[in-house]
Subunit: 380 residues, 4 copies
C-alpha cells in the first residue's frame, strides 16, 4: 500500500479485518507500507499493522512477493504508480478520483485493459458503492421498483473549510488534488448516481465557486490533507469550494448535483434520491444504515418506508451483526476489499473498473468546462 | 373575490376568520363572489359564506361598495382584472404568478405604481411568505445568525401528475397557466428564497422537461385545475412538468432550485436551506411548524436545532394556540389577509408588491429562455 | 357555549367553519356565549362571532331557541351544567375530562342515558380522536393490519410549568381541575389508546409526582388557565405534575403511559405506538399529518412507512386541501363539531359518549389510587 | 476468551483492532480461544484470529502466559469462570448481566474486591456505555446542562422473536439465560440510565409478560442464541418476553423503562431521554452517532439540537474518522477494550465494576419480584 494518511488508515483497517468476517479464497497479507518519509511510514506501519516499510514505491511494485498494489496517495501520483504496477503485473486498487486529468485517466484505462488480458485486475475506490443501503438501492432500481426514473437528486455536502483561517492543505491545491469539492466528493455522488440508476450522464451545465480565495499556508499537515497547523503567510486557493450541476441521462432523467465544502453544519451529508414512474428511493449517509422507499402502488397507504438495511439478506450484511446493529463508515472499505479479493480469486474483473473511473473523470472535466463557460451545455 | 376554486376556498377561509384571531382596524365583509357559471358561483358563495354573487367581474370591480378585489383566477386573466380594479381605485390582492408574461406583469406593475400615488394598495399572493417558520427564517437571516450566505438550496416537489392518465387540466395548458411546475410552484420557491435571504437572483441556467407529452382531455374539471374526470381523446401537454435551475445572487451566493410535479411520493415538499459563514437554516413544509438552525459558534455542541415555531413570540403566533399546537396550510392565507388589511389601514404598501411579482416573472422568463437555449446563462 | 377561554376559542372556530367545509344537514348558529364576567364575555363574543352573551348559564340552557349546549368550563362545573342542559332537552357537548370525580361522571352518564331515550345526544370532547392520522390508525387496527396487539406505548408530554415561578393557575388547583397532568392530558392519551386499539384497560399501577410544590399566586389569569401574570404570595400546588402508568388490557396487551408537564422541550408531544403480531403503528402529534406503519409481511423490504395522512380518502380529508397541504391543531375541533352535528341529524348517538368519559374517569381514579398506594395494582 | 458466538465475534474484533486506533501502553495478544466443541472452537479461532484453542477453561485460566480472561459465555457460567480467573490473578472482563442470580453476583463482587487488593482488575461488559453519544450525554449531565433531572425514559425494543415459530434457543431458557428481555436488554437500559444520570434507582414497580409460551425446540443453534434451525417438538418458554417498569431515583426523578423482544419493527431501538430543570437530552441507538440537546435558556430559539457526535473532541472520537463519518455497533467493544486495557496499565479500577453489575442484578431481581407481586413496590 502506498500512502498512509486518511485513506491509508481506512484501507489498512479493511485489509486487517476483511477475512475475519467474509469467507474468502484469498487472505490478505499486509506486506509493505510505502511513504516518502521513512520515519513517518515506519510509525504508520506499526500502528496499522504492516510487516515492512519502504520509501521507494518503484522498487516495491516490482517485488515478486507483492501481488496487490493499493494506491492511497493524492491524485497527482495515481497515474505513474498505477501504470508501473500494472506493467509489473500487480493487481491495482486505486483511490478515486482515478487521476487528476482525463489524459492520465485514459492512459491508465488503456493500461488496465491491456493488463486485464494478462489476468491482472484493477479497480477504482468509489467506496460508497459498498454502503449496504446504496447497494440495496441499486438492486431495487434494477428490480424495477421505481419504474422509469425521471429525477435524480444528488448532494454531497461538507463544511470543513468554512473557516477562512483553515490552512491551504494539499486538497486545496490544484496541482496536487486536481480539483476541489468537485473531484473529492462530487466524483463520489456522480458515481453513486450512475451506479444506483444504471443511467449514464450525457450532458451537464455547471457552476463552480471558490468562496475563500486566499488562505494561510499550512504548517505541519495533518491526516489526509484534512487538517493542518497554521504556517506563515498565505497563498491562493486554486480549486473549487463548491460545484453545482444540472444533468441529463441517456434514459431521460433530469438530474441535479451539488458538491460543496461550505454547507455549514453538514459534516458528510450524502443524499441521493431518485423519483420514478412507480416509486422513489432516497438515501442519506447521515443515516447510512437506512434506505427509504416509496411505492406508488400502495395507494393511500403509501409513504416513504424506512428500511433498516441491517438484515442478513441485505448486501454485505450476512457477515455482520444481528438486525438493527448498524455499521459505520469504515465498513465500506472492508466491503471494497472483499469484492476486490473475491474478483481476483474468481478471475473476474472487479467494478468499478478504471474505465468507470475514466467516465467519471470525463464528467468532472465537463463540469469544469461548463463552469468556465457560463454554464454552457457540455455533451459527455 | 373573483374565482372560487382551490384558491377561492383558501382565501374565503381567510376572510372569514382573520378578524377572529387578529385585532384589526378593518374588518372584512365578504360581499360578492364572482364566477362565469352563475349556478356554480351561487353554490360556492353559499358554501364559503359570500353575501352576493355575480358573473360579470367588470361590473363588480366598479361597484362603490367594493373596496378590495381579490383575484383567484388562472393567470391568463390576472392582468385584465387587476388593471380594471386598480383603475377603479380598488385595493387588489392578486394570486401568483402575477401574470402569464413579463409584458403583462410590467403593465400591472406600472398601474400599481400609479394607483399607489392615489393611496390604492396592491399585493401579490406569495402566501408561503406567511408560514411562520419562513417568516422567522427571514428574521434570523436579517439578524445575521447565518452570516454571509454561500449556498441557497430550494426544492418544491409534488407528484400529482405522475400518472400518465391524469387528464389535461388547465394547469397543463400554456395559454391558461403560462407555464407548468415552473410558474405554479417554482415561482413560490424563487420568491421564498429571495424573501428569506434578501438576496436578488442575478442570473440563471436551467433545464425544463415535459415527461408526459400527451394526456387525456379532461371531462368535468375539479377544484382548482388539480383534478378532473377523464374525457374523450387526448391533447398535448404544453407546459413543463419540471424545471431545474442553477443561479447566482447579487450577494455572492450559489443557488440551486427545482420545481417538479413528478417527484413521486413528495406531495408538497418545499425545502429551503441556506448555508452561511456563521451557520445554516433549513425549512421543510412537510414539517411546517419547525425551523432548523445550525450555529457554528456552538463548536462541538453545535447541531441543527429544531425550533418549534409555535411560541407566541414567533411571527403570527401571538394570535393562535399554546406552544406545540401547530398550524396548517390554510393559516398562511389568514396571515396574508391580516398583513394586507393591516397595510391598508396603516396606509402603507403591503409586500410582496406587484413589482416583487414582476421580478419573479422575469426570473421565470429567464429560466424558460435558458432552458430553451441549452442552459445558456441568462442575466436577470 | 359556556366558557370562552382556550377551549372556547377552539370551539368557536369549529362552529364558525364546520359547515364551510363539510356538507351538513344541520348548520350551526352561534347564538349565545355565556360567562361570569359580563364585559369579558361581550368582548369574547365580538371576537369569536357569537350573536348574544349572557352571564347566567341556567337561563340560557332553558331557552327554547337553544338546541345545543357546549360546555368549555373548568371541570368542577361540568356536572351541574350538563345535568341541567340534558334535563332541558339540549344536546350536550362537554369538554374532557367529563368531570372531576367518578361520582359526578356517573351521575352525568346516567342522565345522558335517560336523555338519550328522549332523543337527546351527548358527547365528551376527546378531540384528539379527530386527528385524521389517529382516526386512520384506528381504522388500520380494525382492519387487522397489526394483528394481535402486544404493546401499547402512550406519552403526552408538555413543559409549560417547568419554571418554578410560573403561577398557580386554576389548572394547578385540585378543586378546580380535579387533577393535574393526569386529567388534563393523561385522559387524552388513555382515551386515544382505547379508541385506537379497541382494547379496554383492565388494571393499572401508577406513580404521580408534584415536582414544584409551592408556586406564586396568580395575578390576572390568562387564557384557559395556561398563563397568568404574577400576583403576591405563594400557594401549594394541589395536583400532580406528572403521572406514569403501567397497564394491562382485556385483549392481553401490556401498556405504558406517561403524562407530564415537566418534559422540558416537549411542547405538546403526544406519542402513541402499538406493536402487534403482524406489524406496528406509530403516531406523534408533533408530526400530526403523518402515521407510521410497519408491515412485518414485507420481509427484508419492511420498515416504518410514513403515510402522509392528507389524501382525500383519509378520514376527514375529503373536506380539505390537496394532498400534502397539512392540517393544524384546531381542525380536530372542526371534525368534532362535524361528527356531533352529523349524529344529531342522523338521530344517532355520537361518540365518545358520556359512558366513554366515565370509563376514562374511572381509569384516572384508579391511577390516583395506585399512586397513593405505592403503585399497588388497581383492577378497573 | 471463553465463548465464541455473537459476543465472541464482537470482542475478537475489539482485541484485534483496539491498538490500531488508540495509543495504548498494553497491546493485546489474542492467545487462546476456549469452547466446549473442539472443532467449532478451532474454526472460530481461525476466523477471529486467535493463536490457540482449548476446550477446558479451567486449565486456561491457570496459564502463566494468560493475563486477561474475557468471559463471553451465557450467564449461567459467568460466576464459576470469573471466580476461578480472579483467584488465579487474571484480570477479568465479564459479559453482562454479571450473573444469573443476585447471590452469584454478590459472590463475584466479593471476589473482585479481594482480587482488587492484589491489583487484579475486573469489569462487566455494559458496552453501550461506550457509545460516544451516551458517553457525551453523561458528560453533559455532569456539566449541569439539564439541571435537576425530573424524568428518565428508557426503552430497549427488539422484535426478533415475534414469530411464534422462532425456536426455543438458550436465550429463552431461564436456566441458561437467567431471564429474558429483562436481563438481556433491560439490564443495558437500566445501566445506561444510571450511568448517564448519576442517579441510583431506589425502587421499582413492574410487570413482565411471556406472549408466546411454547416454542419449537431448536435444532442446530445459530450464533449467540439469536437464531436456530427448527428441531422436533416444542417446549415452554421460561423467561419473560417483555418487562415494563416504573422507578424512582435517589435524586428525585421519576423513571419508566421498557425492554421487549416483541416491538415489531424495532430491531435494536435503545432510547434514553432525560428531562431536567434546565434542559433535556435524548438518545436513540437507531441514530447512534447523534445526541439531541434542548437548552431551555435559548428561549424562543430553543429546540432539540441534533449534535453529530463525530467530532474529534467527543468521547473516543479522537481515534477515528473525520467529522460526519459515523461509527457502528462494534466500535463500542473497541472502546470497552481500550478502557479496560488503559485501566490495567494505569493500575486503576475500570468501570463498570462487578459492584456496578451487582447493583443492576439487584434491580433485575426487584423487577421480577414486583412483577410476581402485581406490581407491588420494591425498594432496592
Amino acid at each position: 500500500m502506498i500512502g498512509y494518511a486518511f485513506m491509508g488508515a481506512a484501507h489498512s483497517q479493511a485489509w486487517r479485518n476483511v477475512h475475519r468476517f467474509f469467507p474468502l479464497e484469498l487472505t490478505p497479507e499486509m506486506a509493505v507500507l510505502v511513504g516518502r518519509n521513512a520515519e513517518a511510514v515506519q510509525q504508520a506501519a506499526a500502528t496499522f499493522g504492516w510487516a515492512e516499510t519502504a520509501t521507494d514505491w518503484r522498487a516495491v511494485v516490482e517485488r515478486e512477493d507483492v501481488d496487490v498494489v493499493d494506491i492511497c496517495t493524492p491524485g497527482d501520483t495515481h497515474a505513474e504508480i498505477a501504470l508501473a504496477a500494472l506493467a509489473a503485473g500487480k493487481h491495482v486498487l486505486c483511490e478515486k478520483p482515478l487521476a487528476n486529468t482525463v489524459a492520465e485517466a485514459e492512459e491508465m484505462t488503456a493500461a488496465a485493459e491491456q493488463a486485464r488480458a494478462r489476468g491482472v485486475r484493477s479497480m477504482v475506490g468509489f467506496s460508497y458503492r459498498r454502503v449496504p443501503a446504496l447497494a440495496l438501492m441499486r438492486q431495487l432500481v434494477a428490480e424495477g421498483v421505481v419504474g422509469d426514473i425521471r429525477h435524480i437528486r444528488g448532494l454531497y455536502l461538507q463544511d470543513w473549510i468554512v473557516d477562512p483561517e483553515f490552512p491551504l492543505v494539499w486538497r486545496l491545491q490544484k496541482d496536487k488534488a486536481g480539483s476541489g469539492a468537485l473531484g473529492d466528493i462530487g466524483a463520489h455522488i456522480l458515481d453513486a448516481a450512475e451506479f444506483v440508476t444504471g443511467h449514464r450522464i450525457t450532458g451537464v451545465a455547471a457552476q463552480t465557486e471558490t468562496f475563500v480565495k486566499e488562505r494561510p499556508l499550512p504548517g505541519e499537515s495533518g491526516t489526509g490533507g484534512l487538517s493542518a497547523t497554521g504556517g506563515t503567510g498565505t497563498g491562493p486557493v486554486t480549486v473549487d469550494d463548491a460545484a453545482v450541476v444540472l444533468a441529463r441521462t441517456d434514459a431521460g432523467a433530469l438530474a441535479t448535483f451539488e458538491a460543496t465544502r461550505f454547507a455549514t453544519g453538514r459534516k458528510n451529508r450524502i443524499v441521493l434520491e431518485v423519483n420514478g414512474s412507480k416509486g422513489s428511493l432516497a438515501f442519506n449517509f447521515e443515516d447510512m444504515n437506512s434506505l427509504e422507499h416509496y411505492d406508488l402502488a400502495a395507494g393511500d397507504r403509501a409513504g416513504f418506508t424506512k428500511i433498516s438495511v441491517t438484515e442478513p439478506t441485505h448486501p454485505y450484511l450476512e457477515a455482520w451483526w444481528p438486525a438493527g446493529h448498524g455499521l459505520g463508515y469504515e465498513h465500506t472499505f472492508v466491503h471494497q476489499a472483499r469484492d476486490f479479493l473475491a474478483a481476483i480469486a474468481a478471475e473476474e474483473d472487479p467494478t468499478p473498473s478504471f474505465a468507470d473511473g475514466l467516465r467519471i473523470q470525463r464528467l468532472l472535466a465537463a463540469v469544469e468546462e461548463s463552469a468556465g463557460a457560463q454554464a454552457a451545455w457540455q455533451q459527455v
